[in-house]
């Protein structure tokens, strides 16, 4: 069994997962304190992680019916993410492991999002394509095996990533332009249900070559449209604007996935990241790939079970090799 800790953004998470990918516990404490600042504040996220992590770990062990000395290894997200937030998890993970002389497994957060698909009861085996879309990242990758090495020769080959905003950010920024507050992504999707997605034609980032994503043009287009319509008309047609904007985000993602499937010849597709919960996105992707693999929602958003899952395929660092381990803010992949 592996105990994993994840603190890369604003969710404090711990989980216990068996060697063969069965989730024994998956505890997520969402801080829910950042909305009033209009975004995640790293210093505040870090303070909350420190207050919460001990109880979250305790819960994860208890729910799994195990104790720290009984686990085989401790895994922890090393990066990328908010460095101040990550280091609370890294310091905690190192100390818990060192206290019992356990091995430590540092995990790449994005390898974690991929490895969410390897968990029971419904794992998917490589090779497959994966679209990971959340408030923090948007990337399309070819998963060749379970490992964590990145690149065309490695286990995970990134085919495309966002040039500017992440998909989840695009949702939130659109929501703000429509006066839906922060984080407005879910509110925008809710409002879109009542709107006409064909009402406005927003760009679907065709100006970006290859398989990369861009959402800044779309955001600007929405801004201009609201200015053109004026305050009153924008309010009146808010649902149509939301539906059309959402459709443009979904189309942007879908066209890249379509192209990637043609280029690689890989047909199987998995989703990951918080945006995977979006209904129209799932529908659109399912139309592309009928056997679309989407893990349960709690495994798509940031969680520690996915970190434990990834750790199963990595070489553990034996005690005391990891005592000096540090967190890293950005990956060498720059995503």
């Amino acid at each position: 069994m592996i105990l994993a800790i994840e603190t890369s953004c604003d969710d404090t998470c711990a989980a216990v997962v068996t060697r063969d990918g069965e989730i024994r516990s998956n505890v997520i404490s969402s801080q829910g304190v950042h909305d009033r600042y209009g975004g995640v504040v790293p210093e505040i996220a870090s303070r909350h992680h420190l207050e919460l992590v001990e109880a979250v770990v305790e819960d994860a062990l208890q729910q799994a019916g195990t104790t720290l000395p009984q686990v085989d290894a401790v895994a922890v997200t090393q990066g990328p993410g908010l460095v101040g937030a990550l280091l609370v998890g890294v310091a905690t993970g190192k100390a818990l492991a060192a206290a019992h002389g356990l091995p430590l497994i540092p995990v790449d957060h994005l390898h974690g999002h991929v490895a969410a698909s390897f968990l029971r009861p419904d794992p998917i085996e490589p090779p497959f394509l994966i679209l990971i879309a959340s408030g923090g990242h948007t990337l399309l990758a070819h998963v060749k095996d379970h490992g964590a090495s990145w690149g065309s020769e490695g286990s995970i080959e990134v085919l495309g990533s966002t040039r500017d905003d992440a998909a989840g950010e695009a949702f939130d920024k659109g929501a703000r332009l429509l006066g839906l507050g922060y984080p407005g992504g879910p509110a925008l999707s809710k409002l879109a249900e009542e709107g006409d997605a064909e009402a406005f034609a927003f760009p679907v980032a065709a100006q970006v070559p290859g398989l990369d994503f861009s959402f800044s043009g779309l955001k600007t287009a929405l801004l201009y449209k609201t200015q053109e319509l004026g305050e009153e008309e924008t309010t009146r047609r808010r649902a149509d604007l939301a539906a059309s904007y959402q459709r443009a985000i979904v189309e942007t993602l879908a066209r890249r996935v379509e192209r990637a499937r043609r280029q690689t010849g890989i047909e199987r597709l998995a989703l990951g990241g918080g945006v995977a919960a979006n209904g129209p996105l799932r529908e659109r992707m399912r139309a592309l790939a009928p056997d679309l693999h989407v893990p349960p929602r709690e495994l798509c958003t940031d969680n520690a079970a996915m970190i434990a899952s990834a750790a199963r395929y990595l070489e553990p660092l034996p005690f005391p090799q990891y005592l000096g381990l540090d967190a890293f803010a950005t990956g060498e992949r720059g995503i």
Binding site: V41, E43, S46, L50, E54, G84, T92, A95, A99
Partner: protein, 267 residues
Amino acid sequence: MRDDPGVKILAFDTATPATSVALAPGDGRMLTRRHDPAQGERPGHQALLLTYAVELLDEAGLSFKDLDRLAVGVGPGTFTGLRIGVATARALAQAHALDLVGISTLHALAAAHALTAATRDAADAHAAPRDEAAAPAAATILPVIDARRGEAFAAAWDAAGVTDPAATPLLAPAALTPDALVAAVQELPSAPVGIGDGALRFREQLELAGVLVPAGDSPSHQVDAAAHCRLAGAARPHARDEVLPAYLRLPDAELALRRRAAGIHRS
């Protein structure tokens, strides 16, 4: 504040750029490791804290489970450094259900100074002349930590009672501008001795206010976890989830939000 024989305490402090670790293995010895980053070098907290702790335990032939108690400096100091120290301490304590004591880094500075002064005064009775770098004895101790942004974290204790972990400060720990610090010094019962990296940073203002600041190479300016070890030996342990950094400052985003709110109310 004595080295209680038999009680095994591991203590560390990462509130300042230094990484200081001390182990009282319960046989009257005090084992220590420290790292002070050179000019421009990053603090070694994450890289060195656990490494030093394990080295000291190895040296004493102990492991984490043999410890009776852990003590951690809770600042004030750099937020990142504090979180590495407190997260490490809480996780180690959690892993073996160890007693945990949070020690004010300012209090530890003051207590360490009082102890060295006492030791030196005893030695002085036999041998003169005085070491030039030695800190002068004073009735009031003013530990000051550089808080960046032109401010200082400071507190003050009566030298007589400072080695009691429950001692009440004459000036409660606070983040102060140099002007506010000088004003606070004027309120103290006697001219204090100022120690810590903040006392060196604000030496000019403090000396003008009558504070005695020892030479820059005096050990009184360095946070030393041996003091945490000694204070913790006589302290009552805290509930683990109560041991948190003494930030003494709100996050910038919160300050900005409050300023905006105040501005809206005024207009």
